[in-house]
């Protein structure tokens, strides 16, 4: 297992119930697999208009593979400006 840091912004902080948490995931876990598991645990995430993932301050694709100590960030629909 590896450990990643999950950060939750905007509405995802309300859904997950915390801003930051540490999560253990399998070695080789993709962003897709990570999100699938997270949506099982927090079905309200399915209601969002979109949900992107950033790892270490960059947007990543579903196929991106997580590494130990990655900072994984939930990006619900942005609304700056």
């Amino acid at each position: 297992m590896i450990t990643v840091k999950l950060l939750c912004f905007g509405i995802t902080k309300d859904i997950i119930g915390t801003f930051e948490k540490s999560l253990d995931v399998s070695v080789g876990c993709s962003v897709y697999a990570f999100l699938t598991k997270l949506k099982q645990d927090f079905p309200e995430l399915e209601r969002l208009n979109s949900l992107r993932i950033a790892v270490n301050e960059e947007y990543v694709q579903d196929t991106f593979v997580l590494n130990h100590r990655d900072e994984v960030v939930l990006i619900p629909p942005v609304s700056g400006g």
Binding site: F9, I11, D14, E57, I75, P77, G80, G81
Partner: protein
Amino acid sequence: MANSEKNIEIVLSKQALDLSACQAFVESPDCGGLVHFVGTVRNHTKGLKVLSLDFEAYEPMAISEMRKIAEQAVEIFSIRKIAIHHRVGLLQIGEIPVIISVSSHHRKAAFEACQYAIDTLKETVPIWKKEILENGEVWVSATP
């Protein structure tokens, strides 16, 4: 929080934004046209009265995404300078969440680059606003 290069200035700040400072950054003796976009907090949304807006940012990435937009704008539209300033925290009606300022030799490019920058900012920069309404709070655009 500020970060500047020769022709790009990115600011993410808890303090009130300053149009004069943006004007001063982008103006250049070899440019004839400056365009500013200034966002302001509206007092209504979908028929509901808005009391204030609370802006939250994933700060390091918000800054790097704003910088990418600025670099792309310089590249695509051959503009001279661009400043992108965004506010975070609680804003009242009429306050300014964002200013984008562009200078260019040709004014058409300045208009296009400024519009490109605000359109893209609203799609890619990790900043979220929560509307404080009379009867509750809503994260803007989060759900249908």
